[in-house]
């Protein structure tokens, strides 16, 4: 018998329509799963029992009335805690926003609600999305369900874990340097960063505006497509939103990879990549070749500087984006008396965690008079070079592939005191953020410790079709049996 909480979204959506079960049943299943697992995993910061119950009732009423707002109607979905949810506390895992309740919904959230999705709650993350392990949360770390002594990756670790553990059918996170794909890889689920501008950033608490992008987590590529389709598309409230009609992506899932040109990025298959990870990725590449893909090797020479450029650009933008947290209008205000300046300065010192402070200082420095050209200016040039590398690579290849993360899930605490080691976790994912291109992580196996390995597929801007086409084929070829008790069978426990 399969627990309802382990169904795919596609399977659950069909069951809702045949009357096999109700939205209330689905919600009850994920909440029961949360009750079982949260003490150990801590995927959620807030479980919105009441709001979710109301949304599930509404979905069931809609089904009863013959109203269908799309395949997410009645499906329990979790949201990273940096997405503003009207009436539900939103903290970005920071003490400085503890207790803050947004008066508005992020555009992506509003679209999910309009589609009838049931929002289960807000998931844990690295504070302001700064981190790769979900250890930098002011409210305690999240643990990996595959091995609770290990991190789930980050910064969207809570969303990844909710999906892996079955306390949500799907989830949304944000990806600035790999914050969706890397935790997806470390928890054995599918995680996707769309083309920059495809999903509105309005209502996403900004870390680095030119890199941030909201994207979905799910247990299958098909589910990821369903989630993305619900939130993608132009939004007048985000000036960087792409003003073009968004095509449906579902057709790409069954076309196979015959003749698709797949480039393996040599720089991301060598030194610094765990041999077991490399082997799993190579095995997947071989299967793609067997399935008819034209596989070759491709070099992204600037990628060796991408990490350094990223760790200047992202902190520079964050130093300005996070300036608004000053204790004046909302959030934590220090009780220390003094001048207005003292108040702002103490509120920030008390409200921000050490990694956030480190990045604000780094970014402030990088933008300072006399240093701008050497740091921020130079980093922007590297960004241009990275884009050029990708453009050249895409002249010969339809997609590029690599490991998602250099290693599988690492032990809690291992990199917490070593920022540089932590930053290296993002080495494979950062280039796509710098270029603004879409990228996805699909689980392709486990290492000797039984920990999942993620396979990254990258495509040119707005190349979501080919990205999903290859991802779906990888999923079929690999048939990731070890993934979280996933069931698509008809045998379900109502």
């Amino acid at each position: 018998m399969t627990d309802l909480a382990d169904l795919t979204i596609a399977r659950a959506a069909s069951g809702l329509r045949t009357g096999e079960f109700t939205a209330a049943d689905l919600l009850e299943a994920v909440m029961r799963r949360a009750t079982m697992t949260e003490a150990q995993l801590h995927a959620y910061l807030t479980l919105d029992h009441e709001g979710a119950a109301t949304a599930a009732e509404e979905a069931d009423r809609a089904f009863a009335a013959g109203q269908d707002h799309g395949l997410l109607q009645g499906i329990p979905i979790a949201l990273k805690d940096n997405m503003c949810t009207r009436g539900v506390e939103t903290t970005a895992s920071s003490k400085i926003l503890s207790g803050w309740v947004p008066p508005y919904d992020a555009t992506a959230v509003a679209r999910l609600r309009a589609a009838g999705a049931v929002i289960t709650g807000k998931t844990n993350m690295d504070e302001f999305a700064m981190g790769s392990s979900t250890e930098n949360s002011a409210f305690g770390e999240t643990r990996n369900p595959w091995d609770t002594d290990r991190v789930p990756g980050g910064s969207s670790g809570g969303s990844a874990v909710a999906v892996a553990a079955g306390s949500a059918f799907g989830a949304f996170g944000s990806d600035t340097g790999g914050s969706i794909r890397q935790p997806a890889a470390l928890t054995g689920v599918v995680g996707m960063k769309p083309t920059y501008g495809l999903v509105s950033r309005y209502g996403l608490i900004a870390f680095a505006s030119s890199l941030d992008q909201i994207g979905p987590f799910a247990r299958t590529v098909e589910d990821v497509v369903l989630l993305l389709e619900a939130v993608a598309g132009f939004d007048a409230l985000d000036s960087t939103s792409i003003d073009e009609p968004t095509p449906g992506f579902g057709d790409a899932l069954r076309t196979g990879v015959e003749g698709v040109r797949v480039g393996v990025v040599t720089e991301l298959m060598g030194e610094g990549i765990d041999p077991e990870v490399r082997a799993a990725v190579q095995a997947t590449v071989d299967r793609l070749a067997d399935a008819g893909a034209a596989v070759g090797e491709v070099s992204l020479p600037s990628s060796e500087h991408a990490l350094s450029a990223y760790y200047l650009i992202a902190p520079a933008e964050c130093s300005s984006n996070l300036a608004r947290f000053d204790g004046v209008r909302y959030g934590h205000r220090s009780s220390i008396e003094g001048t207005t300046e003292d108040m702002m300065s103490h509120s920030r010192a008390e409200g921000f965690g050490p990694e956030v402070i480190r990045r604000i200082l780094l970014g402030t420095y990088a933008l300072s008079a006399g240093y701008y050209d050497a740091f921020y200016g130079q980093a922007q040039k590297v960004r241009t070079l990275v884009r050029r590398d990708f453009e050249e690579a895409y002249a010969d290849y339809d997609v590029l592939v690599s490991p998602t993360s250099p290693t599988t899930a690492f032990p809690v605490g291992e990199r917490a005191q070593d920022p540089l080691a932590m930053y290296l976790s993002d080495v494979c994912t950062i280039p796509s953020n710098l270029s603004g291109d879409p990228s996805i992580s699909v689980p392709v196996g486990v290492d000797a410790d039984g920990l999942p390995v993620g396979f990254q597929i990258m495509a040119p801007a707005l190349g979501e079709q080919v990205l999903f086409q290859v991802a779906a084929e990888v999923e079929r070829l690999v048939d990731f049996q070890d993934r979280a008790r996933l069931a698509t069978s008809d045998e379900v426990k109502p």
Partner: protein, 484 residues
């Protein structure tokens, strides 16, 4: 200015646009609404909120740029100017740095010492801050305040900054520049440009140097000057202060100063130990701003007549320069002037009436011209009567005020008040003959070459005709009949 010295002056002007909504959100521009009611997540800088530019504001700044003869950048960039201040919600201001919307313009001003061309370095788009009210014993100054009240209604109101080259040389020129800029902004209809309300305000940079010295001296910047009179006084004060300082062996410190209206002095603002580093960088939330050539051309075609062009046109029509300026500055006066001239009135006469008698009468009755019935047609009718000799110029003034007071059309009033002038020679001759007959002594004196009684006789004829005779005709007849 003290001989041997020259001042170098540049002005930065902030103009709040009077668009319906704010620069980067759709909140209404309503700074006088109850505090913090004209706000939303964007202008309060709530987490996650994003800016979207206001197209009308872009059109307005392009108008200003075109009126100032600027080049309009087809692609301009928004930057973040980072600094912490409680009434700056994001703790950065969205502004422009490299590639502002408008650059390299100029403006011609008329100062007492002749026309001056003032270069416009740039005209850029930014957003206003909220308003701080410091409460406590300090009389509104932050360092003595007990607490501060914040109102974010003004936060995000579109603000245009207009920066001149250091081309101004005297306090009078600075004022003339400020005044002409205000006229242009008002003519464009993009702002109410109220200096006293702060919707237009000046930051003025002043330095001095010895005449002939090619190097600039060290400048000071006096911020938030809020009247044209103060602009002139600030510059005059700074020039004197700096010259005195240097002559006494001291040197000018580069600093920001503020103007105290009561003491009529500038004083250094509390300066931070380090100079402010705004860490400008391109705003990643906003795409480059595109002003296409067709859009720019459409805006150019929609520009109203500019004040300088209007003044020139009025002078050409016959108004004198001073009257032309007064007319061009007032929508109410200029519209009536134009109507009257279009209806065939004598431009010079109507200009004098409007800027002299009409303005004086309105002041007396404390009225607004648009609240009166006075029309351009009235003025044209009155002008025609004077031209035809039907009305004396002094009677015309009486008719004019009565028209303003709503007593009727000029002709009706003149007839009702029996002010129509007699120009008929035959009718006047009868009166002249009667007066001459009754004043034989005077006539005799004139015949002897003593011209003194002439005025007396003319006066007698005017009295005989009840003041309605055309004085020119009377004079001619009396002369002819007495001098043979």
């Amino acid at each position: 200015m003290k001989p041997g010295w020259e001042a170098v002056i540049g002005v930065e002007t902030h103009v709040e646009l009077s668009t319906r909504s704010k620069m980067f959100c759709r909140c209404p521009v309503d700074v006088d609404a109850a505090p913090n009611t004209a706000c939303c997540p964007v202008c309060l800088a709530l987490p996650g909120a994003l800016p979207v530019p206001n197209e009308q504001a872009i059109e307005d700044i392009v108008k200003i740029g075109l009126a100032l003869d600027c080049a309009i950048n087809e692609r301009s960039l928004f930057y973040r100017k980072n600094y912490f201040y409680p009434d700056l919600p994001k703790n950065y201001q969205i502004s422009q740095y490299t590639f502002p919307v408008c650059e390299h313009g100029s403006i011609e001003i008329e100062a007492e010492d002749g026309p001056v061309t003032v270069g416009i370095t740039r005209v850029h788009m930014e957003e206003d801050t909220g308003k701080s009210t410091h409460v406590g014993d300090g009389g509104g100054r932050i360092h003595d305040a007990d607490h501060t009240l914040l109102d974010f209604n003004r936060a995000g109101v579109p603000l245009v900054e207009i920066v001149t080259e250091p081309d101004l040389r005297t306090p009078e020129q600075a004022r003339a520049y400020g005044s002409e800029l205000q006229r242009i902004v008002l003519a464009l209809g993009v702002s109410d440009a109220k200096l006293e309300a702060g919707s237009m305000r000046f930051d003025v940079n002043v330095s001095v140097r010895r005449t002939g010295d090619p190097e600039f001296g060290t400048r000071t910047e006096t911020k938030n000057v809020n009247s044209l009179r103060s602009l002139q006084r600030v510059v005059a004060f700074e020039i004197d202060r700096q010259v005195e300082l240097i002559e006494a062996g001291g040197s000018v410190t580069q600093e920001t100063r503020h103007w105290n209206e009561e003491t009529a002095q500038t004083a250094a603002m509390r300066s931070k130990e380090e100079s402010e580093d705004y860490r400008y960088f391109q705003d990643p939330d906003l795409l480059p701003l595109e002003v296409s050539e067709p859009w720019r051309d459409a805006i150019l075609a929609s520009l109203p007549e500019l004040p300088a062009d209007r003044r020139a046109r009025y002078v050409e029509a016959g108004a004198d320069a001073a009257a032309a300026e007064l007319l061009a500055d007032s929508r109410g006066l200029s519209s009536r002037f134009e109507e009257a001239v279009a209806a065939g009135a004598n431009a010079r006469t109507v200009a004098i009436w409007l800027t002299g008698d009409v303005v004086a009468h309105l002041r007396r009755i404390d009225g607004d011209i648009d609240a009166t019935v006075l029309s351009g047609d009235h003025l044209a009718e009155l002008s025609a009567m004077v031209e035809a000799g039907e009305l004396s110029s002094s009677a015309a003034k009486d008719v004019l005020t009565a028209t303003i007071d709503g007593e009727g059309s000029p002709r009706d009033i003149a007839e009702a008040k029996d002010l129509m002038q007699v120009s008929d020679v035959g009718e006047i001759e009868v009166a002249v003959d009667a007066v001459l007959a009754a004043n034989a002594d005077a006539v005799a004196k004139i015949a002897d070459g003593d011209m003194k009684p002439m005025g007396f006789l003319i006066g007698q004829v005017m009295r005989e005709t009840g003041g309605k005779a055309d004085p020119k005709v009377v004079q001619q007849l009396v002369r002819a009949k007495t001098q043979g």
